[in-house]
Symmetry: C2
Subunit: 688 residues, 2 copies
């Protein structure tokens, strides 16, 4: 049994701060418990009253002798910890409505920390603080200060915003949407998105989990849990906070290229989470999945009574995974047998503007017999003689009998209002535009596909000996008050991780270059103050002999006094790749890879790799990436080595996971070749 089972399905509830005074939160909650049909036992605590709502009122939690499954706390913040302390022995589940904790700043944060300590030491489950509460429609339990009750259903909605719960509940009444749980998580001190996912994954009433999140508390935990839960049921997340805030100075390409929202996208994609584009998409997806009778399918058939909207529906399929399915010749001739000659029996099937319900009905009957067709979109606009209501009823009848998924798109105003009500009540999902319908079906299908691929949960082994050696190098640099490694230090680390680097020699500015150089060579400044070497004439190429080299190092010494100079063999130019690591505050180290060179930021042909990933996942990701063309042998080019590139990313992942000191890492360029030569890191920047 999940530890939250009793919190969300309690057979007895106590309200602390209960009140008979209208307008008080403790009053709203008490009345929600008493008046909406909850059949469990309800207790009240309020030191000022002997009786409330015609029953005994307790002074404090510890006075209640029966076991109580859940306590709802609605007293001012300053009293909350005391209340919990008092109850902690007997009562293990709490909803803390009270605001005034971490959301108000330092003082509140301090109190929340104490509360959390209480929770941990007493093994309590706490929803909130600073939340609206939750609603369990099957139990007719409204354990919140929101009003009303929704229908029972199979959608669980978890929200970081109470107002969105109010809005969705209001919409749900109008559109007959049913829920299994509606949960406001507030400050997410204890119960957070991860524990909700764990609980709802095994909640039999829940078919689809919808979440509105403004942040994610623990990135690695989230990844590990959500990818498992997504395999069991769809998780639809509306994640806000996309806009980039002004960031601090960024030292590397990687820092600039991997924004927090791009990372979020990559996490969702990796884990098979459906990310809703906006509020309407979010609500639409929840309804669609809630109502669907069978798994989403790639091929879709569209019926319409309006050519124009049919064309718009066809357009909506552009760049989508789902497709307009071919209608078989057999079906076409069946359709032709009763449809007017001007009808189209291609997909979309145009039933014409003068159709009554009969053509919809008969067409659906014919499609019902086709095993290959699993999803149907029925489009309608109200025209002069259109019997909108009867057509809606025909769709409902079909939906009741069939195992296929039918989705309606009705475009209109007053003439369709009553039809919408009937469709809503009978759980036919209806969208107000073809674009919304196709988009929702497509995202649902993405989940199915991702789910079928079978994501491997991978635990990456840490090589402690290697880690130790690498940390030693960074420690030395830190002792010199540096925040970045010199090239020769970075290449020592790369050697530990078997990522090949260009051979190099280092001298101090002013020193003469001495070494067994294989000319031609390049000379460049090695400094964390010089970000883009090509920008500042800190790089001199094609030095053919000792004389050239001496001249170059003198010039560099003069222009960049006090900096280190490195001399590298000129190597044959390969295709330029950028590799990077960025430490995300939520998800920890994230790898980027893509097209490198001086125009990296211009081309923006980069992808993210969320850790941990199995070798198989990395290889697949490479072949779906923006640089996949290198490994496909396009345009008559010999293809580059996918296995080798996969190895490099696997090793970079080891590096990222073992050396958590690294804030940003850039390899730009890493040369890759398609003539058998091994990859080579030419420039490396490691910031810690």
């Amino acid at each position: 049994m999940n530890k939250l089972e009793k919190l969300f399905n309690p057979s007895s509830v106590v309200v602390i701060g209960a009140s008979e005074e209208t307008g008080k939160i403790g009053n709203i909650i008490s009345k929600n418990l008493l008046e909406l049909g909850y059949s469990g036992k309800v207790y009240f605590v309020n030191p000022k009253h002997e009786k409330l709502f015609n029953q005994d009122c307790y002074k404090k939690l510890s006075e209640i002798e029966d076991g109580v499954d859940l306590a709802i706390v609605a007293v001012p913040a300053k009293f909350v910890n005391e209340v919990i302390q008092d109850g902690a022995n007997k009562i293990k589940n709490y909803v803390i409505i009270s605001a005034g904790f971490s959301e108000i700043g330092e003082d509140g944060l301090k109190q929340e920390k104490e509360l959390n300590k209480l929770a941990k030491s007493n093994q309590l489950n706490i929803l909130g603080p600073n939340c609206l509460g939750f609603i369990n429609p099957e139990m007719k339990l409204n354990a919140s200060f929101g009003s009303g009750m929704t229908k029972e259903g199979n959608i669980s909605f978890v929200s970081q915003s109470g107002a969105l719960i109010s809005a969705l509940m209001d919409i749900s009444i109008k559109e007959s949407i049913g829920f299994s749980q509606i949960v406001s998580v507030g400050n997410k001190m204890d119960v957070d998105e991860v524990s909700m996912l764990e609980f709802l994954a095994n909640d039999e009433k829940t078919k689809v989990i919808g979440m509105y999140l403004e942040g994610i508390k623990n990135g690695p935990d989230f990844i590990s849990v959500v990818k498992k839960v997504s395999k069991i049921k769809p998780v639809v997340i509306l994640k806000s906070g996309k806009t980039k805030k002004a960031q601090k100075a960024i030292f590397s390409h990687t820092g600039a290229l991997a924004g927090s929202d791009e990372i979020m996208d990559a996490v969702f994609e990796k884990c098979g989470v459906i990310r809703a584009g906006d509020l309407e998409d979010f609500f639409g997806l929840l309804k669609l999945i809630s109502n669907s009778k069978s798994d989403p399918d790639e091929k879709v058939v569209v019926l319409t009574n309006a050519g124009g909207v049919g064309v718009l529906t066809t357009d909506a399929f552009q760049n989508k995974e789902i497709k307009l399915g071919e209608i078989s010749d057999e079906v076409k001739s069946e359709l032709k047998s009763f449809l007017p000659a001007e009808s189209s029996v291609e997909n979309p099937i145009d039933l014409l503007g003068d159709t009554f319900e009969d053509r919809y009905q008969k067409t659906l009957e014919i499609l019902e017999k086709q095993d290959k067709i699993k999803t149907i979109i029925a489009v309608l606009t109200p025209q002069n003689q259109t019997p909108v209501l009867k057509i809606a009823q025909a769709l409902v009848q079909f939906k009741d009998k069939s195992q296929k998924n039918i989705v309606a798109v009705f475009v209109g105003g007053e003439k369709i209002d009553e039809a919408l009500r009937i469709l809503h009540e009978n759980k036919v999902t209806v969208f107000s535009s073809p674009e919304r319908a196709v988009n929702a079906l497509n995202q649902y299908y993405f989940w199915k596909q991702k789910n079928d691929q079978g994501i491997v949960a991978e635990k990456i082994e840490i090589n402690e000996e290697r880690k130790e050696k690498a940390l030693e190098i960074i420690k030395k640099a830190k002792e010199e008050n540096r925040e970045a490694l010199l090239f020769n230090e970075a290449s020592q680390i790369f050697n530990l991780y078997q990522i090949p680097c260009c051979k190099s020699w280092m001298i101090n500015s002013g020193e003469d270059p001495v070494g067994d150089f294989n000319f031609p060579v390049v000379a460049k400044i090695d400094s964390d103050k010089v970000l883009h070497k090509s920008d500042q004439e800190a790089l001199i190429l094609n030095l053919k002999n000792e004389e050239d080299l001496n001249e170059a190092t003198e010039k560099l010494s003069k222009n960049f006094p006090g900096e280190k100079i490195i001399i590298q063999e000129m190597i044959e130019k390969g295709a330029e790749i950028i590799l990077g690591i960025k430490k995300d505050p939520i998800f920890g180290p994230v790898i980027i890879f893509g097209l490198g060179g001086i125009y990296t930021e211009v081309f923006q042909m980069i992808d993210l790799l969320i850790l941990p990933s199995s070798r198989e996942e990395i290889s697949k990701r490479l072949m779906q990436s923006k640089i996949k063309f290198f490994f496909q042998g396009e345009r008559g080019q010999k293809s580059y080595n996918l296995d080798e590139m996969t190895d490099i990313l696997v090793r970079l992942q080891n590096l990222a996971l073992e050396i958590s000191e690294i804030k940003e890492l850039d390899v730009n360029p890493l040369f890759i070749y398609n003539d058998g030569k091994s990859v080579l890191a030419v420039d490396i920047k490691i910031i810690f």
Copy 2:
């Protein structure tokens, strides 16, 4: 006076095919004219009746002695031309409802051509055939077989789909949207999008023109007219037919890169047309523009009673032209003086979930005094105590007094229904999600910006002498049954247009190379059968001397017997650009330019140039293009020569407009340099 003035504002109308029989189209139209309040004179024609609707019925049009402004034809297609022939002398304006013309195939097309001849020779204006008709709400004139009447207003809606008119009219009743004209253009034989634009541009009642188009009849006319009309009033187009159909074999990069929908996008962008993304965007934009009191502005202020939806609204501004404006310190302190401490006075201004109408009211009063704030989005979700109706009324009051634009976003269900009605009735535009609102404001602002830029209508002079010479070269190739030019022919044409080409020599396969070669050189096959030279080993690089060259030409001769071989000097590699011309069936020649080289299709960093364009426009377009970075000197690179590149595109435009025989043209690569060297076309393909 526009020639369509009387068609759309007739003081008398005759229905041909009038009928008293319910269900007949001639009956619906007659009743629309008689029963909806049209005050003009109405005549009926039907050879089978003496009287209809208690008035005289004529046998044919020519019998009516009075002048009649407009005839509506609702007889079977086969009788239509006869009717028009009979009336053409006296009556100049027709709406032909009848279907059965070009839309049904060859026979219909023939009849439509005859009809068009009739129209031209008698200077008739014909709407249709195969249309729903039109509705002029100010005159209470429903000259269509759609039902009902909408409110009078300032939106003109022109549609290639009758069903969309029915849908929009139904929505308009629910949302109190008013129209100046609603026009179904049907087959667009005579009256098409261009004549409608010309008519509506000067129609004083029309503030915004909305069009649903499936195709555009005449591309160059459309461009020339719509760019002028867009300067006068916003033109919002929902263009369907985006999906790429399977195309015929494509011979050039350009052919593959410039799809017809990308060209449409570029045309709209050039001409300042607002392209609606989907049906809901379309309706939303029309309402927004219709209701707005002043020009759209870059800076927007958001008020909300829900933090979560506030964050989503902030997100919606990402990658938009419009921005959340800064709230001045003065305004902030005014706001703080009455808002609760927990409110946010940053933008979005969070009035908190427990707000009544008062905080909305006072905040709006304070914002009203700010000249710099012109656009306000008021967001609401219905929470426990939210007085939704009163807040809606507060917004209406503000809107009535203020010259600012106020837009509402109400997210909810039943609790907001009545408020929506009030907002609709009082012309406060309301959106169902923040994303829709921000998107519509952004597109409206795009129009304003584009309009302010001042597009120069440019007529390009044709150089007949040059044209003659170029055509001669193509003529010769045609005589040899070729569909493509050889490199040396293409470079002759480029010389005529002063686009520099690489020096080259041509030999036939099997011949020995003879020439004054400046080694190293390259040898390659010059054939329209070999599309991508690098794909098929048809290109041998870096031939250092005569021996190398001989060996190479022998190899090529062997592998590609019968083909021409060209020998070019190896030139220093520059940045690789692709240039191309594609002949679009609607818009004629279109130029593409972008990043060239072997990975052109992979990078897809190309832009389109719609012709004709002034030199200034071309230069501006280059600086907004995906390859603008070349001309900005990014990443420490010296910038490339914008003026030179502009010249090249100007010359390519001349070539495109003068040699209309060209179907596709590719230059790939064109080398450009940033060290003073002149651009150079290395490979040219011209297909005709």
